[in-house]
Symmetry: C2
Subunit: 99 residues, 2 copies
């Protein structure tokens, strides 16, 4: 039998969606650059607002994925080990993110 508990401790910050989150952040950064170009070129304000709205949706989705990943990994660990701080921090972050 492998030492599952020991292995688990080392995986405290492991998240299965890290690569997906990084890719999405890169895409949002690229999207912001193209909006910057639109502003520089004096493109229609309406078109720029639509792109900013899409970027905001993308950021909301990134937050949702990070939150779900956190719940699936860190929170399960925290509850198992009775770590109250993790849940308090999470609640504060949700309060800020979902307002």
């Amino acid at each position: 039998m492998e030492s599952k508990t020991h292995e688990h401790e080392h995986e405290h910050h492991h998240h299965s969606q890290t690569k997906a989150v990084i890719n999405r952040i890169s895409r949002v950064t690229g999207h912001m650059q193209s909006v910057k170009t639109m502003v520089e070129e004096g493109r229609d304000c309406s078109d720029i607002l639509i792109q900013l709205s899409a970027i905001r949706s993308a950021i909301n989705n990134i937050g949702r994925i990070i939150l779900q990943d956190h719940i699936d990994h860190c929170v399960v660990d925290a509850v198992e080990s009775g770590d109250k701080k993790v849940l308090e921090d999470l609640n504060n972050a949700i309060e800020k993110f979902l307002k």
Copy 2:
């Protein structure tokens, strides 16, 4: 007397806040890069969510500035010249941006 009307037509896409908007977009892009680093380094999900929340606020502010600038410049011109399309586009953009 200068030809005010003519001058006005050429300023159709002039916005007084363009430089400020571009600077804010650059700051948001830099902020996104630092969030990407946080994700790569496995930093606390709560901290990352708080930063994403700040980025979303910054994007909302950029949208607000663009909207106000658009109203102060293009919309006034459009109403004066009876250009309905500009107002329709603006309403569509507001609908998307403020949902």
